[in-house]
Amino acid sequence: MATVPKVDVGTDYKEKYGFFVPEEYVFKAKRGLNPEIVKEISWMKQEPEWMTKMRLRSLEIFRKKPMPTWGADLSVIDFENIFYYLKASDKQSKTWEELPPDIKATYDRLGVPEAERKFLAGVSAQYESEVVYHSLQKELTAKGVIFTDTDSALRDHPELFKEYFGTVIPPADNKFAALNTAVWSGGSFIYVPKGVRVDIPLQAYFRINAENMGQFERTLIICDEGSFVHYIEGCTAPIYTTDSLHSAVVEIIVKKDARCRYTTIQNWSTNVFNLVTKRAMAYADATMEWVDGNLGSQITMKYPSVYLMEPGAKGDVLSVAFAGKGQHQDAGGKMIHVAPNTTSTITSKSISKAGGRTSYRGHIKMYPDAKNSKSFVKCDALLLDDESRSDTYPYNDVDAENVTLGHEATVSKVSDEQLFYLMSRGITRSEAETMIVNGFIEPFTKELPLEYAVELNRLIQLEMEGSVG
């Protein structure tokens, strides 16, 4: 067990041990980051000692690593002014009335149900989807699938957890991975046994609560040989949070012949810095697909990657970024070809509007062993006005022979000819523009489950009308 740090347990020990529904909270949330806070987090969660140590080690790494300066401007983040761990009970302090009017308006216009919008806005901690979740759980358990939150997984499946946690993205990988490892909380844990195909997409939404939508969520997915799973996180409705930093880590292991698809639709409120590390290891003939949509936030830096570890492994990234006023979406993907006959594609679509900025940043690496491998990168940027901006930063690093590497990039504006054509059929300018933008991201949208696709199209419409944040 971890050494218990001195904290004021006061009279609230009941909550700590889970005997009662808490009426008042025990853990006095403090801003800032130091070993004491990290120890407290681990102690609160009653974690095994190895995790406490790993967190502390990660904190050291976080402190030593310089801020990355190659991407978006992160200098304004004040790490000392952040709450690194809040219990759900602390988070419910907001009331509906305190919400910014634009967020409320968006919920209205998207037709988000009452219970759901309260959750999204952080007004209530639990979204009432328990019922759906429980019937699903029964089915999954029968197949040996584990689908739970990451904290519970550490408690309930300690061996499995320890075997994989931090193996795909070690704390030293980058500054924000180190930060996440030091203070992580919540996220999803999925294990799919050999040969099991999970037919319906697993959605974080089923078991959403304030904790797993937290700032430092940690997700770990293990697809055993020949299995399949599709995991979906996020939703199109904007998620309102006063936390300014969201720094998640997602680790995925896709074993021989398995396939994993990970779909993200994220629409953080525009005060958020969204700095996420997502990486998968794909083994022989395995397939990893990242489908990644980023709409909100002030700054997003996210480059889902796949390490193609064994022959026949395949990696895909399909991403969409929308940057409106004051937003910078710095996104892309990385494909690391380690073994022969591996293939990868990255398709990136970005839209910039009202001075928004999108960047494509990609890295294709082919190690000497990656003979006969193929990679194709396509990035298309759509600029909706003259103030907006888009850049591409493709890095290729090829040490293998007999490989194929393709790269295509386009930057375009909504064409006058297309607008005229649609308008000449009676369609208004704003509707025509929305149609063209939705058409532009259609290669992405058509990969989404229908309800998400419909929501995304509606959201683009709101963004285009300028009525969103």
Binding site: S415, D416, E417, Q418, F420, Y421, L422, M423, S424, R425, G426, I427, T428, R429, E431, A432, M435, I436, N438, G439, F440, I441, E442, P443
Partner: protein
């Protein structure tokens, strides 16, 4: 006062004067053909009438339903009852023809996302599509395809006429709908247009060649050379052009019939 009046219309493209005073009165129920050699300003006329932003109006007016439509946006003109079948239909990726047709029809009917009674019902839309597709000898496999994306020349032109049939305009401008079509496609297109002919529709059919006029008989023919009408009259003018081409207007010495090798 005719239903649709073009009065002394002058227009330029990128500072270059193209239309030098075009006057034309069209009544519903009539079919007018505008014929002219390449570069005479036919497409400039069609685009200016529909409000393409690349064409600058330098003078004149176009009166339809008591309004000068030159002051309106293209979508407003369309909702007022105008339609343009483009010479070069535009590709719009990612939007299916079905979605496009439905959105356009809803827009035409004044559905703005609120008053559901104005919205076309799925059933009505399906049956409407079905009958018009038949007339044009198109199968519904093209409906899920993106707007004009990968369409052959003939498919594009037929798709234009399909849009016209669905939107039911009162004034339709067909800009070289016949060019690039094989004879079967011309017949299908002509059938569809002829079916729509009637007291509620005025047609301005723009063409370089006389061929389509064998299938869609015009009531009036106007010859456009260098941005002006040089001759107007009845269908006999088409016959005259058939023989002499545009040679009467020396600077536009082009035949008005296709050479045998150009006939597909």
């Amino acid at each position: 006062m005719a239903d649709f009046e073009i009065k002394d219309l002058r227009a330029s493209v990128e500072g270059k004067e193209i239309l030098k005073g075009v006057t034309l009165a069209i009544n519903k129920g009539e079919v007018h053909a505008v014929m002219g050699p390449n570069g005479s300003g036919k497409s400039t006329l069609s685009h200016t009438l529909m409000g393409h932003p690349g064409y600058t109006v330098d003078g004149g007016e176009v009166i339809f339903k008591g309004q000068n439509v030159l002051a309106l946006e293209p979508d407003e003109r369309a909702r007022l009852g105008m339609f343009l079948a483009l010479q070069y239909p535009v590709v719009v990726p990612g939007i299916s023809m079905t979605n496009f047709l439905r959105t356009a029809l809803n827009a035409k009917r004044g559905y703005d996302g609120k008053d559901k009674s104005k919205q076309v019902t799925p059933k009505e839309f399906r049956s409407l599509l079905k009958s018009e597709l038949e007339v044009l000898h198109m199968d519904d496999s093209f409906l899920p395809r993106y707007i004009n994306d990968g369409f052959s020349g003939g498919e594009k032109k037929r798709a234009e006429i399909l849009q016209m049939a669905i939107l039911k305009p009162e004034i339709a401008i067909l800009d070289e709908t016949d060019s690039g079509l094989d004879i079967d496609s011309i017949k299908f297109v002509a059938d569809a247009v002829n079916r729509m002919r009637g007291p509620d529709l005025g047609v301005l059919i723009i063409t370089h060649y006389t061929r389509i006029l064998q299938f869609i008989k015009p009531d009036f023919v106007h010859v456009l050379v260098d941005g002006k009408f040089v001759l107007s009259g009845g269908p006999e003018i088409a016959d005259r052009l058939e023989k002499t081409g545009y040679s009467e207007w020396a600077e536009a010495d082009e035949p008005a019939v296709l050479k045998p090798e150009e006939v597909a």
